[in-house]
């Protein structure tokens, strides 16, 4: 036996050393790539530019090796690694063990670096045709970002720290985290953030190289769209997980951690739209550079907030050692970005004729302002505790602040979404105003229905009709497109084929439709939620919002590591079993298992509060209308993004722009 123990020790120790060695090698390679790429780009040394790019690929390979080793260690239960011990145990299902890779501090940093390495390499593969200098600077910036993460991984938060004595079992996951949501929500959110480093790097590279044309936008459009899709999915998955697992009947609490994931999404949304103006007409350049930089800075800012614990949140984050590092990184990115913008401000002014206010370009510009307004609202609410705490008594905002401050802005954005696709790029004439009658009619119809149904809340009366207007515009555009192609002859097959040819546009419309569906779901489940607390004896029933639930009894079930108090209820023909699990091994911590009966109309959401000595059981029951619309809308958004992302790039039809004449020259 001692022999195999020694063998195991050697095997495991070797794995940890190879892993940390790979990280160190990756760091060296990343720094080398960054320095060489910047130098080679500035001196136009094309051989060295290639070497610098290859060094980035090698960095990505090192990160990949380290990742593979960490995953191997997790899946084979190598408890000699502190990370494996802290986040898994022998009883944890293997899927959650594998998910431990991104579940902890150190692993999630490595995951971030992995995504950056993979997507960054992909973006560099075809980048040479952008012009060697632009490609070189992009490689340099991405290598610099990778260097930061690798420095933190090597010096401060290594996933390969070895324990002095290998424990027989790990600490395991808290029961609240043992859920499918934990498998997919974190990696999607993190990937959405890391993916946006690519558009940022190319934008900053373009500024550095004095390139004010839209080449960098066209090249990174797919990555920006992927980032947006991942961020959208990540937000929806987080909401879904909170709704199904946390048992408070809602899905969004305006908690700082949620807010800092929301703000980059807003900036990315603005950028995706605004960048089209630059691709088409060479305008809004300053906006686009600004938005890309803002989105990335918000990502870094969010990462800092989440991991530093400086803002009170219901998410516990110990004031960890890496907080100051991320603050420093944020500072560096801020100074670098502002400096770049200031340096190159000369080249950012718009050329060409400004479009009239009522035009597609005007609509996109207004959208930028409104979305930045929302970011400002959310940012203020998130930072108020910190700011107020510094100058006096600490204050926090509650949820109604966010709703009251951002609600009107969101309403304006919805109106813009309904009118925007219809506005022509240049002069908006009579045909445009005529086409507005469709969304106006849809809004009026829905408004009338709501009023007739007795709805009186102003936010719902504004939000839902506007969402209907967005839907009607999408339908109108699809119908117009199909009708146009059919008139061109060839009937349905040709019409579909020609629609497919303009996938980028119709995919985007589909995403709009999905978003409108989400908005309706959010409005209904938020404003028209009904709630009831009730204590029932076995056999008694309760009616909430027209749904009748009969309580039949409760029983206690003993399982391997916990006992479950399960209440049986019937709703129509369905059985619901809300439960409370108690984990004796964790100091008696209890876990709610919410019972949800979903239908397209509403969710009946039952929480078991507990049982009483007289045999009765107490429940909190919610009826949440149209929650399924939120998830369905999200699925539609994903389809739209995928569809739109497979579309061919439009011809970059913009006026030839003069680069800033500088001592360095442009590529």
């Amino acid at each position: 036996m001692p022999v195999t123990l020694l063998d195991n020790l050697i095997y495991v120790v070797i794995l940890a050393f190879i892993g940390s060695g790979a990280l160190l090698a990756g760091l060296v390679m990343a720094v080398f790539s960054a320095l060489l790429s910047f130098w080679a780009g500035s001196t136009d040394n094309s051989v060295m530019i290639q070497v610098g790019r290859r060094a980035f690929y090698a960095t990505a390979a090192m990160i990949f090796i380290a990742s593979a080793l960490l995953e191997t260690a997790l899946v084979t239960h190598d408890f000699s690694l502190a990370y494996v011990t802290e986040h898994t145990d022998l009883s944890t299902p293997i899927a959650l063990v594998a998910a431990g890779f991104y579940g902890g501090q150190e692993g999630s940093l490595l995951y971030w670096a992995l995504i950056l390495g993979i997507l960054g390499s992909a973006s560099l593969l075809a980048s040479a045709r952008l012009g060697p200098r632009l490609a070189a600077y992009a490689a340099g910036i991405m290598a610099s970002i990778a260097s930061f993460f690798l420095v933190v991984l090597v010096l401060v938060a290594s996933p390969f720290d070895v324990l002095a004595i290998t424990p027989p079992d790990g600490l395991g996951l808290n029961p609240v985290l043992r859920d499918g949501g934990m498998l997919i929500h974190p990696p999607v959110v993190l990937a959405g953030f890391a993916a946006f480093a690519i558009p940022f790097s190319f934008a900053a590279a373009a500024l550095l190289a004095g390139r004010f044309d839209a080449a960098w936008i066209a090249h990174t459009r797919r990555f920006a769209l992927v980032a947006w899709g991942l961020q959208s999915t990540g937000l929806l998955l987080g909401m879904w997980w909170a709704y199904h697992v946390l048992g408070w009947g809602g899905y969004w609490g305006w908690d700082p951690v949620e807010n800092v994931a929301f703000m980059p999404w807003l900036a990315t949304t603005a950028y995706l739209h605004s960048s089209q103006v630059q691709e088409r007409r060479g305008r809004l350049r300053a906006w686009n550079f600004g938005l890309v930089i803002l989105a990335f800075l918000l990502v870094v800012f969010g990462t800092f907030i989440v991991r530093s614990g400086i803002v009170p949140s219901v998410h516990t984050f110990a004031v960890s050692a890496i907080g100051p590092w991320f603050l420093g990184f944020l500072g560096v990115c801020l100074v670098f970005s502002i400096g770049l913008l200031a340096l190159r401000s000369g080249g950012l002014h718009n050329t060409g004729e400004p479009a009239p206010a009522v035009s597609r370009e005007g609509a996109f510009a207004l959208q930028n302002l409104l979305l930045i307004g929302v970011i400002a609202v959310v940012f203020w609410g998130t930072m108020l505790p910190l700011v107020s705490g510094l100058v006096g008594q600490e204050r926090v905002v509650n949820a109604s602040y966010y709703e009251r401050a951002s609600g009107p802005l969101f309403a304006a954005i919805l109106a813009l979404m309904a009118a925007g696709p219809l506005i022509p790029w240049r002069h908006a004439g009579a045909p445009f105003w005529r086409s507005l009658t469709w969304p106006a009619a849809a809004s009026a119809l829905v408004l009338a229905i709501l009023l007739a149904a007795g709805v009186r809340g102003l936010p719902a009366l504004i939000g839902v009709p506007l969402a209907a207007a967005v839907v009607s515009t999408v339908v109108y555009e699809y119908a117009r497109g199909i009708g146009r192609w059919r008139r061109a002859g060839g009937g349905w097959p040709r019409a579909v084929a020609l629609l497919a040819r303009r996938r980028r546009r119709y995919g985007a419309y589909l995403a709009h439709l999905g978003l409108a569906v989400v908005v309706v779901g959010l409005a209904a489940s938020h404003f028209w939620q009904q709630e009831k607390d009730v204590t029932l004896q076995a056999g008694q029933q309760v009616t909430v919002a027209g749904y009748t639930l009969i309580y039949s009894g409760a029983e206690t079930r003993e399982l391997a590591d916990h006992s479950e108090l399960v209440a049986a209820m019937t709703l129509g023909g369905q059985t619901l079993e809300p439960a409370r699990a108690t984990y004796a091994g964790l100091g008696g911590q209890s876990l709610t298992h919410v019972a949800i009966s979903s239908s397209p109309v509403a969710d009946v959401y039952v929480v078991l509060a507990g049982t009483n000595s007289d045999g009765s059981a107490s429940f909190r029951i919610f009826v949440n209308p149209l929650v399924t619309w939120i998830w369905a809308g999200g699925a539609i958004i994903i389809v739209g993004v995928i569809l739109g992302n497979t579309g061919r790039r439009r011809q970059v039809a913009e006026p030839v722009t003069a680069s800033v004449p500088s001592a360095v020259g442009a590529s």
Partner: protein, 34 residues
Amino acid sequence: MTLIVATLLLFAAGPFVLWPLIKTPEDGVEVESR
């Protein structure tokens, strides 16, 4: 140990990274590669 592994990995990656320098340029025209 970590340093040894790191050094080994860097040496292994060397040829790939430095390939554009190592390969013979063709008649002074530098081939633009990936």
